[in-house]
Amino acid sequence: MRNAAIGKFIQRFKNKEAFLFLVFLLLFALMSVISPGRFLTWRNLQSMASQFPEFGIFAIAMMVVVVSGGINLSITFTAALASIVGGILLSRMSAAGIAPALVLLAAIPTMLVVALACGALNGLVIASIGVAPMLATLGTMTLFEGICLNITKGGSIAGFPDAFLWFGAGSILGLPFPLILFIVVAVASYFIMERSAFGLKAYMIGCNPTVSAYSGINVKKVLYGVYLFSGLLCALAGLLMSSRYNSAKESYGSSYLMLGISAAVLGGTDIAGGYGKVVGTVIAVMILQVISTGLNIFGVNRYIINVIMGGILILVLGLNLIGSRGKKTS
């Protein structure tokens, strides 16, 4: 009975994503109220706008793979490897006295290429050889981590030219560059996944790969495309991180794997594949960011913040489930 009532409340919203947006506004307002004059400030908004893009790009990189019926556990180490290789170029070339513009021109495409290679490896193992995505990316994740550690011996790569810091700290017309990059990524991902033939095929494969194959879809090609795209996004996340932290290390971003999966799922993506909207993932990322920063500013203990994030994840997913059940019965 209560379920039906909650279900009816949720049905007032056109879809899951609208409900999610309300949750975001509620949390944003709550955080502003509990830390008056400190959360809702231009400085904090800019600070959050610099923090969440690296996480947001990882979340989208995860989402595009999940909708195709797979999962990509290697996202963070793909980014780490790309940023470490790029970082070596940045520091060595910088130390050799080469002009910053040339250094950046060499290092950034290198990061993209390395990440695409990682994505291609994932595609090879998953699409061509046919290993289950979770196992395949578990393997590639460990492989990439090993390569990172072999290169860095556990330390970090530093010595980047000052110009490189602009990607993490610079802004255009008051908007931090990370935010601009994230907007570009989100819009591009929307068009690629939800408004193109390629994206439609990815969703279909996520629904049912066998039927898709028999319907004439080149499943191998689409999956390669999905993992390559995911890898490319990881390179961008790695670029943001190495600029913001002025160094590259294999452990940077490792927490974003689990958080990325949480954000994708919180955003309404079906973990089994076939459904997921970019806008949902974006709102979920903003929800998690607002909770984290809001509670940090309010002064809540580090350990409790994780508990709260987990609690909100369960709450929203539970409400979504009840809402969808409500739709079925009414």
Binding site: R12, F13, K14, A18, L22, L25, L26, F28, A29, S32, V33, S35, P36, G37, R38, F39, L40, T41, R43, N44, S47, M48, S50, Q51, K153, G154, G155, S156, A158, G159, F160, L165, G168, A169, M241, R244, Y245, N246, S247, K249, S251, Y252, G253, S255, S292, T293, N296, I297, G299, R302, Y303
Partner: protein, 327 residues
């Protein structure tokens, strides 16, 4: 969706109304260790909180749960938004915190580093417990006293990017090259990331890989304990001398049976106290001077660069005196 729209409007109005700034009377100082949860940094927290009480100011002692530089950066960004008067950080990686410290300075926040240095150009004061060169050389002297001036030894460090540990190790190695040329370092320093379990594991690996190992230096407080644990387990305490940076209370069981020969350190709670005290002085626009007497600490030294503060000489904790200390 009229109802939904109404809620949204109400919330936005509420949020905007409460967005007005509140004046903060007591200065707020942030002390961020490399990580929270290890005895060394728990002890410095006690000192920092004591200083807060004595000086009547707010101290926020917070840090990541693992020795992760990127987590420190994110926490510092949020604390800058919170609006604090001073930030004192023990960076896991000085390069990683450079951008966020720049942001802090731009926001008019006093910036200090403590326990381990950040980029000198970015901080107003750099609080060291001890002169790095003196300390490094002293640890090597202790090692030689225990294992002799010839033989194989290894170094287990904390995080590979920690500038304080690297400073002591580099000073010690340079000293040993001249004074103890017959000492042989078997391999590059091994990381244990401030985890005793990892130090224990790495020590076991070293013992297995280098059967002629006669000494292990542990830098960072969990490292000598992990190494001592390994030596104790293998029954090699007579053969391998373990020395390093450790707290007297946690080292006592290892000191008593000889698996750890001597621990060199200082009182971390004093370091926490001193850091808060100096940060508060800077917030009040009072620059500390060389040789000034700090209550509960004693006379501090400030080096010629005007930025580096040295607290005091190190203390050796041995089987005999470890029980006299409470930290």
């Amino acid at each position: 969706m009229n109802f939904g729209k109404r809620i949204v409007l109400l919330l936005v109005v509420l949020a905007v109304l409460t967005g007005s700034a509140f004046a903060q009377k007591k200065p707020t100082i942030v002390i961020m260790p490399k990580l929270v949860g290890i005895p060394y940094f728990n002890a410095s927290e006690t000192g920092a909180n004591q200083a807060a009480k004595d000086l009547g100011i707010n101290v926020i002692y917070t840090g990541p749960t693992t020795a992760d530089a990127s987590e420190q950066v994110r926490m510092l960004e949020d604390l800058i938004s919170k609006g604090v008067d001073a930030i004192c950080v023990a960076p896991n990686d000085p390069a990683a915190v450079a951008p966020v410290l720049k942001k802090a300075k731009a926001a008019g926040i006093v910036v200090l580093d403590w326990d381990t240095p950040a980029d000198k150009a970015l901080v107003d004061l750099s609080v060291h417990q001890i002169d790095d060169k003196v300390f490094g050389e002293h640890v090597w002297d202790c090692l030689v006293k225990e294992m002799g001036a010839t033989g194989d030894y290894a170094i287990i460090t904390g995080g590979l990017s920690a500038a304080n540990l690297n400073g002591w190790i580099d000073a010690g190695l340079a000293y040993a090259k001249v004074k103890y040329p017959k000492l042989r370092l078997v391999t590059d320093k091994v990381a244990s990331d401030e985890k005793q379990q990892m130090a224990y594991q790495k020590a076991l690996d070293l013992i297995k890989a280098y059967p002629n190992l006669k000494g292990i230096i542990g830098m960072s407080t969990p490292a000598p304990l992990g190494a001592a644990q390994a030596v104790q387990e293998k029954g090699l305490k007579a053969k391998i001398a373990v020395v390093g940076t450790a707290l007297p209370t946690s080292s006592r069981p290892f000191l008593e049976d000889g698996s750890l020969r001597v621990a060199n350190l200082w009182d971390p709670s004093k370091l926490g106290y001193l850091t808060v005290y100096l940060a508060n002085e800077l917030v009040k626009h009072k620059k500390p001077v060389n040789g000034m007497d700090v209550p509960n600490i004693g006379k501090i030294t400030i080096l010629a660069d005007g930025k580096t503060v040295i607290m005091a000489p190190p203390t050796d904790f041995t089987k005999e005196n470890a029980k006299n200390y409470t930290f």
